[in-house]
């Protein structure tokens, strides 16, 4: 059997429409849940009202590497997909070539900052890996 008859005979229209509907519903629901997730986390993180003890504020000194891109987290986000394309232990030159290929801004500086910030771990012999 061929053509529309074959589709109808195998209940194809119903399976396709229902299947597509379920996928959209499922991923739509997941999308909604994760869009609210940060609110739930914020609720869970809210400090308890009962605790009123005053704790002296600790001065946190944040070391910022000189000349680095302003946001190291953003740099990691930009470079992580590139690093995932490479073997787990890679040469910096390979990362540099990929960064150039994707036209990421100031790759030399960014890679140096990743090393300074301790996110690229040297394994010796010129090999590095991402410190997760």
């Amino acid at each position: 059997m061929f053509g529309l008859d074959a589709i109808a005979h195998n209940n194809g229209w119903m399976i396709a429409i229902t299947g597509a509907g379920i996928v959209f519903t499922g991923l739509g629901a997941l999308s909604f849940v994760i869009s609210q997730l940060h609110k739930v986390v914020a609720l869970l993180d809210r400090p308890s009202k009962a605790t009123v003890a005053v704790v002296a504020e600790e001065k946190i000194s944040i070391w910022t590497p000189p000349d680095c891109p302003n946001d190291i987290a953003l740099t990691i986000k930009l470079y992580q997909p590139l690093i995932e394309e490479l073997p787990s232990e890679f040469d910096l030159a390979e990362l540099y070539v990929l960064a150039k290929k994707y036209h990421l801004p100031h790759p030399h500086l960014s890679i140096r900052c990743l090393i300074n910030a301790g996110r690229l771990e040297s394994l010796g012999e010129g090999l590095f890996r991402l410190q997760t």
Binding site: A6, N10, G12, I15, G26, L27, G28, I34, K77, L104
Partner: protein
């Protein structure tokens, strides 16, 4: 003299069939593509070599070939036919995937859902061409652009088609740089390709850790048949994100997935014995695979444009093309296409978000089709 003649009759030179020779040429072509052109070498090299290996002519009945009980290749192939290797590969994939991009912009998940429409469209096309419903489902899933998912569903529904479907799925994944860009150009205007995506918000560690649990529960409650794929996938992800079992996460994303990839590639390649593989059905599967991939890409892009009708902050519709789950090939293509129009437009992270959603979407689709057809 008789002994020599008997030996000669058992050699590959005597037993060679023109179909074996054709497949050896195809396998050699894959090996060439992998090594010389660097086209998805992780997939094409094991598959290509497997094709060559599986088509060496041999005397049947000695327990040598992949389809002969008790042969070594048959035992290795068990991981494919039982759906074990795809589950293991999903474990490694989960341990490699960073969901923070998706968590930062959850609406991109809908593009991953839209790109799965290629699966259902191709399912209908395959039915219309005379394939049975289980065969049509297995062919349709090629549109998910996910090799392990294709192998898993085919192993469950139409195991006799594993060879051509796996080869088609992986070949089209390797051909993403050729298939997707023309469709992207055709369906989007320059203005649309120039749309910049907003800065992503910071995602907390707690969100990243909670997501695999929420994702697993929601998806598998909806489509329990996707447990063999999504279970290991989200487990691998929580290994990675928990930060307390780095050794396990590293093993999952390196040694385990590499081992499974080698075995799946080699045995799927070896399963393409000329006498089994070269027939009209395989040609039909390859043609439908191209349709599946193209429709999947197009439906993702068109849904992105549709979403823009309602969104205040427009999204770049190119991202829809990354809704297929070919990680990271399709995300890379989207990024490159965006950069062709504007070198300062970085779409990579957003495209990776769509890719992650596509992996979940195609596994859910496989679960849905499986549950429909075993019922």
């Amino acid at each position: 003299m008789d002994l020599v003649l008997q030996f000669l009759h058992n050699t590959g030179f005597y037993l060679a069939d023109y179909r074996n020779l054709i497949m050896i040429v195809v396998g050699s072509f894959f090996v060439w593509l992998a090594i010389s052109k660097n086209y998805e070498p992780l997939l094409l090299l094991p598959i290509g070599f497997g094709v060559i290996l599986g088509n060496v002519p041999f005397f049947k009945g000695f327990g040598i070939g992949i389809y002969e009980a008790n042969s070594v290749l048959h035992y290795l192939y068990f991981g494919v036919t039982s759906g074990v290797y795809p589950s293991i590969i999903f474990l490694g994939l989960g341990a490699m995937t960073d969901f923070s991009f998706l968590l930062a912009n959850p609406k991109l998940m809908l593009l991953g859902a839209a790109a799965q429409m290629g699966i259902f469209f191709t399912y209908l096309c395959a039915l219309a061409l005379g394939f049975t419903a289980p065969e049509a489902s297995s062919i349709g899933i090629i549109g998910g652009a996910d090799g392990p998912t294709s192998i898993f569903l085919t192993a469950k529904l139409a195991p006799h088609l594993i060879g051509p479907i796996a080869i088609a799925a992986y070949s089209y994944m390797a051909l993403i740089p050729i298939i997707q860009p023309p469709i992207m150009l055709l369906l989007t205007s320059r203005e649309e390709r120039l749309i910049r995506m907003p800065e992503m918000r910071e995602v907390s560690r707690k969100e990243i850790i909670i997501f695999p649990v929420v994702g697993l529960l929601l998806c598998t409650f909806l489509a329990p048949a996707s447990i063999p794929l999504l279970g290991p996938f989200f487990f691998g992800n929580i290994l990675k994100e928990s930060g307390v079992v780095d050794r396990l996460a590293n093993t999952a994303r390196n040694a385990i997935i590499d081992t499974a990839t080698i075995l799946v590639g080699l045995t799927v390649g070896a399963s393409t014995q000329g006498d089994v593989f070269l027939n009209a059905k395989s040609v039909g599967i390859f043609a439908l695979g191209a349709v599946a991939f193209s429709i999947a890409t197009a439906s993702g892009i068109l849904f992105g444009k549709f979403m823009n009708l309602f969104l205040k902050e427009k999204i770049n519709p190119l991202l829809g093309a990354a809704g297929v789950s070919a990680v990271p090939g399709s995300a890379r293509e989207v990024h490159m296409m965006g950069q062709k129009e504007d070198r300062t437009n970085f779409l990579l992270m957003h495209a990776v978000a769509c890719n992650s959603s596509g992996v979940i979407g195609s596994a859910v689709c496989a679960g849905i089709l499986w549950s429909f057809l075993i019922g």
